[in-house]
Symmetry: C2
Subunit: 339 residues, 2 copies
Amino acid sequence: MKSKQTTIKDIAREIGVSPSTVSRALNDHPAINSATKVRIKAKAKELKYEPNIVALSLKNRSTKTIGVVVPELIHFFFSSVISGIEEVAYDNGYTVMICQSKESYDKEVKDVMALLAHRVDGLLISQAKEILNNEHYDEIQRRGVPLVFFDRMPSGVKAPSIIIDDASAAKEATQHLIDRGCQSIMHLGNNLEMPISKARVDGYRQALLDSGMQLDEDMIVDCPTSIQNDSYAKVLSLLEGGAKFDGLFASNDLLAIGAIKALKQFGLSIPQDVAVVGFSNWNFCDMVDPPLSSVNQPGTEMGRQAMKRLLRMITEDEENANDVMMLDTALIVRKSSSL
Amino acid sequence: MKSKQTTIKDIAREIGVSPSTVSRALNDHPAINSATKVRIKAKAKELKYEPNIVALSLKNRSTKTIGVVVPELIHFFFSSVISGIEEVAYDNGYTVMICQSKESYDKEVKDVMALLAHRVDGLLISQAKEILNNEHYDEIQRRGVPLVFFDRMPSGVKAPSIIIDDASAAKEATQHLIDRGCQSIMHLGNNLEMPISKARVDGYRQALLDSGMQLDEDMIVDCPTSIQNDSYAKVLSLLEGGAKFDGLFASNDLLAIGAIKALKQFGLSIPQDVAVVGFSNWNFCDMVDPPLSSVNQPGTEMGRQAMKRLLRMITEDEENANDVMMLDTALIVRKSSSL
DNA sequence: TTGTATGCGTTATCAA
DNA sequence: TTGATAACGCATACAA
């Protein structure tokens, strides 16, 4: 089956030279007769020769492949990140192997081990929600494989990361609601165990404090599943329980949309009665009704930067560092929070 | 850097046996002393040995890797397909290498060649919108690499495909509008050059014919970019030009959403004045206002079936076939087309 | 300028 | 039961 792939030997045999001569010709080695070089190249093209990357990888001890582990591919944000990663990777002669942890710790470990077995030259990871320990990250580093985290980084691992400033982005979003005149702002968190969720809560808190507003812990609601049904149910029951608020900052867009559904159903109008802001700026934000204000995360740029940082580690063979690059977010204001 | 990866030789040296003995122990070869086997396995675990898949691939002439080329990862449908592919691949000991053609012919060719250079054991492809020729597909087959298409298949290539019945799905959607009482139905196509788009137009036509309705070619509008802005602009200008219709079937959800925006802006209400149905059942269909009726494409299942079909080709080493598996779609009726 | 030998990590074959 | 050898495809140090 696989026998139809042309090798360097096939060319050598046809032309009547040794395989090493062919190798030299194909790689434009200086020490080679230009006439034979031309003949060899012509024959290579004729036979549609393509170097066997597997053999090259073995020889060079480098696969020119990097491994990526994301929580979920269907999330618009993560697919954007991947586009950025691929862009830079391809430009530098690397290919990308993508795995989805599906937010599971076990899957993440399995993915990492598989990527390691494939001898990827580096790893780009965004941590799953389910966090048990950091042993697999340690193992990556023990093997001397470069590692960079993006968006969701663990604590206690000495590796570079590219993230956004979740706290300040959340603060900006909350401040926007305050500026708009909101007196009582609810926050819908997603899985408050996660570092990035905590950071967003902190930002929310800080904005309230800075404006001298009351901080009511009951106004911070966790929706662990991140599905809009979750926030829909929670918000509806809160409203039915008599909760009053005129602003809502959700730590992701799906939660915001679930909440909007509940608010509408309860007879409230948006943004007049309640102004709403989401997080991530998913592609559907301007399709929903009303269009949803949201914090834009620069996914593609994050992917580019993460890949660039990884390349530096690979090529410069540098010591483990743990620098953190924070990318700018931008609050995109739409009708859900402005008239 | 890469030197920290344990090899079979390291274990051999530490234990004082030959590499072949280690290999046998690790692979549970029958001809081996069980005592040394235990010692070797213990040492392997201690040293966190992991077989070098690159070396194995070279030896076995099989990478246990399959290549996937999709038009765009950010499309909900394609990410679903990939989940299905990965699921079956992993269960069978394969890993997956994903490329995005970004709808470009050149990129698709580059991706295919890169995957081929990586010596993937098989290829799963969904064709880009931009179609120039089939040479790269021929090259795949010339090399004896198994190939299966999914969703978007080319014509004239002898390879199996897993698709949906676009014509009958489109017919069902159109019929639904007719049943609902629509007298004049517009169709928004996406890039009518594409086979699947043509099939959807055919289905639309067939439904009208079967119901004895008038077929007005002006009611078939191409929106090549598939972006909602495109359909928004087109529909708005049609309305302003005096076009009348009370039903709209769009060949993808984005187009439907753009159209809805135009309709609303023109003061029409949905579904009272115009009933709308989309295609693909993106995750945002129940988030928009009104929730969008749409044809559900079984993405994950398509991925599973495509991967299964490919596995059969790989393991059974069968002749090139060109069987087509059609997966069932289901029209999901929401408020945009029902009261 | 070209050919030969060697090794990357692994396993199958043959010999011991 | 174990070890030595060769081979997968390629690049390179060395010899010619």
